[in-house]
Symmetry: C2
Subunit: 201 residues, 2 copies
């Protein structure tokens, strides 16, 4: 049994969104599954003393252009959301709540739904009314989801996931670990594919 | 006549070294030439409020691994030099001196020679004795090169190139401009190739 591809993401990362659209097909082509980890980039950025690429003067304009172009390169729909970036801890807690109570497929389905809502329709995942409506639209129970994102259990779960991610060397998103080999960025797709086909190189 | 690919680099950038090894062949496949710009990343980093990836705690270890792996991915020899990163203003002034007095091919040949010396044999381009020996080994006049890197003319030339690069939005290396379209990073090779084949996408 081959080990799954570890896939770390934040719901506010454009490159993680794009990668999320190709990672399952890539994994399947090589007989792998994907193990998703919703994390908070703010926490890993703080640990690594990093900031969002749009927080820097010259890099900001380029990055906004590159987000959309990198999506087009992968034939993935993309509309730059505003506000951007946003806090995603509520959406991430919903992910872990689903993951632990309904299983990985339900969590993966939520990840897909939340990513697409934010990056194609500008649904503000940080606004609780909008998030609740999205939960309902995604076929989930909005009252239960709201209870979950306010529940200390899922706050603590997310906190521990972030700590574990930092211990595993994760400092950005998307971040992949393939058979112990770390890859950072949507732009590492071709390297990941070679690694899956031929082993670490 | 198609416009050349603008290629910005710093002699201390591993990703620029790797890209320098593939850029000419890529350009030629699409009927293009390459216009090289030796710049100082320290200057663009300051303008963009950025730092080297190895200046950050968690990112450092990953980056050192990724430099070598990205070179292997492109089948380019790579040995992590020490010290790293280094100041490259002397090597860059030699580039512009050759560029303006002997022409672009002589400057390109020097770029190739200096990149390979640093990234495969650890020749410290920031140590003037080592740099002078490399100049001689590269078939150039070491006295004339030394005079050039101390000459206010080439100091000023490099200063102006850096300023122009920042005005053009350059904040890192390698940085490419293809028909007005900016691309940052060795990992944008596939996007650059599509841009050359099909136009901006």
């Amino acid at each position: 049994m081959k080990s799954p591809i570890e896939f770390y993401f934040d719901f506010s990362s454009p490159y993680a969104y794009v990668a999320h659209e190709w990672i399952d097909a890539l994994a399947a082509r090589h007989g792998r599954t994907v193990r998703r980890h919703a994390i908070l980039l703010g926490v890993t950025f703080a640990a690594a003393e990093l900031k969002s690429p749009v927080a820097y003067p010259l890099k900001r304009e380029y990055s906004l252009r590159d987000f959309a172009r990198s999506a087009r390169y992968e034939r993935v729909p993309y509309v730059q959301p505003e506000p951007f970036p946003i806090a995603t801890h509520h959406a991430a807690r919903v992910f872990w709540w689903l993951h632990d109570t309904q299983g990985e497929p339900a969590a993966a389905q939520w990840a897909r739904s939340a990513f697409r809502a934010y990056f194609t329709r500008g649904v503000a995942l940080n606004e609780l009314a909008a998030l609740k409506a999205l939960v309902q639209e995604s076929g989930l129970d909005p009252q239960a989801a709201e209870a979950a994102w306010n529940d200390p259990t899922w706050k603590e779960r997310l906190r521990q996931v972030n700590e574990q991610a930092i211990r595993n060397g994760v400092f950005g998103a998307p971040f992949f670990i393939v058979d112990g080999e770390p890859f950072w960025g949507n732009d590492r797709k071709a390297q990941i594919e070679r690694c899956l086909a031929e082993g670490p190189f």
